[in-house]
Amino acid sequence: MIGLVSYIVFFLILSLIFGVAVLGLNLQWGFTGLFNAGVAGFTAIGAYTMAILTGPARDAVFGGFELPFVVGLIGAMIASGIGAVLVGLATLKLRHEYLAVATFGIAVTIQLVCLNWEYLTGGTLGLIGIPNPSKAWADGPLAQNALYLLVVVVVVGLTFAALERIVKSPWGRMLKAVREDDVAAASLGKSPERVRLEAFVLGCMIMGLSGALYVSFIGYVSPWDFLPIVTFQIWTMLIVGGSANNRGALLGALIVWGVWTMSGFVISRVVPSEIQAQGGAMQAVLIGVILVAMLLIRPRGLIGEELHVSRHARS
């Protein structure tokens, strides 16, 4: 019983950390229509910033400032934000699939930089010993994880509340206007380029936050944590949950990560051990089938966008 609780806590931590990144992507794709295929790259920037700011000092590697956890979170968001401004200025003139190809390339580049810039990132060896704040405050893995879950829930809660408020504000309406028809938005005196850049940067900062939460939890970061498959997973979470809906984004993270992991559990229970080595392929098929089935049943995601009429028009 304790085992089950302990596992669920662990599962929630990982899926909510994914959830943060999905919220960031939702701001970009769901509300603004920006096809960012470089999610892994921006989570990597956040993750490494966290590791450098809060990790212990190392010979021959930059950083190790041993700063507090919260400073690490803020630093991660700032670093991802700076990265996003640079990328955004260079690429946001591109639309749709062109933006996707460009950002995908940038994410691969960031991963290669992490792999090769040893002085900053530790190269292929990665950075070890990144502190998890919950270890100082609680004893035993369950208590520590429960405490970390609390931290993650608070961060998710704040991010969610802030995003909900933002997208309902005039600025949020402008995002949707740009998404639906940027010529019309421009004719009303708005600047679609600027709005796109703002949404892109804000979304990437949230992805950086997700990366930072991940490394503190795991205690280790390496370039292998940011392969393109991560971008694919986060996109799947958003599409399954329902884009342009922040509740949908979080629900998608829980459901998709649940399918991803529970399928492995089910396979290990059901398939006899003699052919378990082939179980990996079965798991991949199972994940694919479940995701396709969900999209067939609910093409707009589990909770799609809520349609709004301006509250001024209603009254």
Partner: protein, 420 residues
Amino acid sequence: MLHKFGSAAIVAALIGIGSAAQAADCPIKLGAILPVSGPMGQVGERIAETGLFAVEQFNEAGGVLGCPVEYVLRDTQGQSTVGVDAAKSLVDLDGVQALIGAVSSGVSLPVLTSVAVPSKVVQVSCCSSSESFTALAEEGKTDGYWFRTYATNRSQSAIGAKLTVDSGFKKTAVIYVNTDFGVGLANRFEQDIAKLGGSITSMVAYNESQQSYRAEVTKALEGNPDSLYLVAFPVDGATITREWLALGGTDNLIVNNSLRSDDYFQAVGSKFLQNLQGYDSAQPRLPSVDSFNEMFEARFDSPPNGPGLHSVFDAVTVVLLAMEAAGEITGEGIRDNIRLVTSPDGAEVYPGPEGIARAKELLAEGKAIRYVGATGALAFDENGDVQAPKMTWRLDGDANVETGYLSTAEVAELIKMLDE
């Protein structure tokens, strides 16, 4: 009355089963986290099957503490998040006290720091080569729960440096593959060669699968090196060597064990490699290794050629022997008994059901044993690393001839001298 008596008997029987089960919950589960799909899937699948084979052998000899062992395999898909979740689920939901895996260091390390160490579960990897594990263990952050049956880079760089200096080379260029394996090895080599009195002219990393390495080779040629230490794999290694020789580099080559391959010799041309020297883990010429190879062929109809097969077999066997020695299935018990079943002055036991049965007898008598397995005699140091005997070789015409042999003890002595 009879009815009451009957139910009392059933209750008594149930209590009996309950107390028997407490001694050891049957079946005993052993968790494996391996990449059986994804980019490493081909390699991982064979490793997973060999792990199961080791469990089957143990079960043939009566299992652990009278219980059959159940091998629970979970796929990591080569992804750290998936691997970490699989490990946590094995520990929390299946109650395993030992994990075998993972293959890549990028998955094994997150599993170690976020699951195995906090949950006090032993983790034994067949294949992770990163130096970060040793660093982590030295900092006391593994609590002794980490082991690997893959002989570390430590001895490879030591023997490479010794070979270079013994050959009279003074200025060595280093070209190495940019993976955790290559980087760790090259950095250690740099330290070791300084200790032995040689020097490095340049350290150049290369990324895998490029068409040409002209830029890397040109950089490595700076400073007029009299020798080249090359850490590479055959295809890229051949490209680099050809360009190195074509651009006027010396043919005094010292190469890593992965280049002891006919593919490499043929791709470059043996006649250009007559001053090439190398080293390798000496397959200990022991009956235990042959008997493993024979048993493997009998079971799978193919020889055990492939990365990680010998080492995963030993990883599983050592863990199960340690469970038997501990007399209880806890992570701490396994951790504390792994060295007891690999103790240098213990009675030797070999793989296979008879060997396991003999090991169990000896353990029941309270004697220390020394498991000599598919990779030879294992000896874990305090960081959970193992060393293997080494040999040096060179090319004579097309033939690959052995030029020297260092036993495990000699390798350990060399490393001790270098680390001081």
